[in-house]
């Protein structure tokens, strides 16, 4: 079953497209990381999935063919928007009461047990809780609805390291115990490295890359080649990104299964998830490779571009 399936889906706000031509099938059982710079269309895709936004074009279904926003879809999807939105004047107990009455399915016993385990007071106004506690409260309200798909929009942005770890442990435990599928957006790729087993990269309102992390890592390599030869091979190989020095070049290429070979004298290295994401974000095009090599870089520039900075975004 696919928890999300879209076909040529797009969303226009006024003159500008927030998301364009997005075709995607996310199978159940994964924690999918949705990554991309601000304004790439992450939140748009999430709210479409949750049924809060209607697509301008294309079609989307959730939870195995259901229409987003339909009662069956709403019952099975929990969405926690950015910054753990809870009513700050209400206590945890009030919020439990409210959520139970607004939903057809709500496991109050689970929610109370979980809050007790976390030591979150029921009577205190949620605005007076710490950021970590508020995030856990929002997560508890979402999980108590017993969703099949949990959507978390930038859940880690405002959490300190300990709170982040506790929050993620809670999400992972829900995946283990209840088989919840998770779609989690973030622009910090490094912290998703051990969490996500499915990757969706959006940039410039378009889908750049999607697939299981292990498969994506297995079918990409960084080749280091003498500069003169690199040009020749760059035309033959599906090159995602080229970083060039005077004497040699690093080519991030997509290799096509067992047929892929390294020319003699070249080095071949595996890619990390972060490298892969950065390469696809830096070279946005429509869809998968056939990308143009950037203009030649001096060694200094090449070294700088090896460490992408947030400021350049």
């Amino acid at each position: 079953m696919n928890v999300i399936e879209t076909s040529g889906v797009g969303k226009r706000y006024g003159d500008s497209w927030a998301l364009r031509d997005c075709t995607l099938a996310l199978p159940a059982g994964h924690l999918a990381a949705l990554v991309g710079p601000n304004g790439a269309g992450k939140s748009t895709l999430m709210s479409m999935t949750a049924g809060l936004t209607l697509p301008t074009e294309g079609t989307a279904t959730v939870l195995g063919g259901r229409s987003p926003g339909s009662p069956a879809a709403l019952d099975g999807i929990a969405f926690v928007a950015q910054e753990s939105p809870v009513y700050r004047n209400l206590s945890a107990a009030d919020l439990l009461h409210l959520t139970r009455n607004l939903n057809r399915r709500f496991d109050g016993g689970y929610a109370r047990a979980r809050l007790a385990e976390l030591g979150i007071p029921l009577k205190k106004k949620s605005g007076k809780l710490s950021g970590g506690q508020r995030a856990q409260l929002a997560l508890t309200l979402a999980l108590a609805r017993r969703p099949r798909l949990l959507i978390l929009d930038e859940p880690l942005a405002s959490l300190d390291p300990l709170a982040k770890q506790d929050f993620l442990a809670a999400v992972m435990t829900a995946m283990t115990d209840d088989g919840v599928s998770v779609l989690l957006s973030s622009h910090v790729v490094a912290e998703l490295e051990r969490l996500a087993d499915y990757l969706i990269v959006l940039s410039g309102s378009r889908l750049q890359l999607a697939g299981e992390v292990d498969d994506l890592l297995a079918c990409h390599r960084v080749l280091t080649a003498p500069a003169a030869e690199a040009d020749r091979y760059a035309k033959e190989l599906p090159v995602v990104q080229v970083r060039r020095a005077a004497a040699y070049a690093h080519l991030l290429v997509r290799v096509a299964g067992p047929a892929g070979r390294v020319p003699p004298g070249w080095e071949s290295h595996p890619v990390t998830m972060e490298e892969l994401v950065m390469a696809y974000l830096r070279a946005p095009g429509d869809g998968w490779p056939e990308r143009q090599a950037p203009a030649a870089l001096s060694p200094v520039q090449a070294a700088q571009s090896a460490e992408p900075t947030e400021a350049k975004r």
């Binding site: 059982g29 995946m175 283990t176 051990r194 890592l217 390599r221 071949s268 595996p270």
Partner: protein, 170 residues
């Protein structure tokens, strides 16, 4: 939230800088514990849920590691209970180990005399291990990456085995 699970025979830890995929790190740690005798046939491996919350990793990663151990015949899943150790790794007896150690000490002395420093020794040892493993195992490590399979797609199994060996020496 306590993550201390004293009842399980081993406790996993991850090295974020090793470059070894997470599931393989778990596999290696079980194999290591089997070699050293920390784990015996019938012992239960940590529950997926416990590993997931202790290390904050994806449950599918733990399942993949346990599946890999099952494929190697080292572990078996029992429905509703968990995963248990089934096999052993051929163990070298203590006297044999001592003998091997002596031989290696002799070799180290000659490497020292030849002027090789510690890094040089480790590099040489690693490369020899890799070469001899590569020769036996079929594909040379350099080509392994292009077989396109997830497991063979990274040189890590080779690296992991080699550095494990080097640690044993030190």
């Amino acid at each position: 939230m306590t993550i201390d699970k004293g009842d399980s025979a081993i406790e996993f830890r991850l090295d974020p800088d090793s470059g070894v995929p997470t599931y393989l790190q778990l596999v290696h740690q079980v194999e290591h514990a089997l070699r050293l005798g920390y784990l015996k046939v019938g012992d239960q491996l940590p529950k997926v849920r416990d590993v997931v919350s202790a290390l904050t990793i994806n449950p599918n990663t733990v399942l993949k590691a346990y599946r890999e151990l099952e494929n190697k015949g080292l572990a078996a899943g029992r429905p509703g209970q968990g995963t248990f150790v089934e096999g052993t790794l051929e163990q070298v007896t203590l006297p044999e180990l001592a003998g091997l150690r002596r031989t290696l000490m002799g070799w180290l002395a000659s490497a020292d005399a030849a002027g090789l420093d510690e890094d040089g020794i480790v590099a040489l040892f690693t490369s020899v291990v890799r070469d001899s493993r590569g020769g036996r195992g079929g594909a040379a490590p350099g080509q392994a990456g292009f077989s396109g399979r997830a497991e063979a797609g990274r040189p890590d199994p080779v690296d992991g085995a080699a550095s494990g060996g080097a640690e044993g020496v030190a």
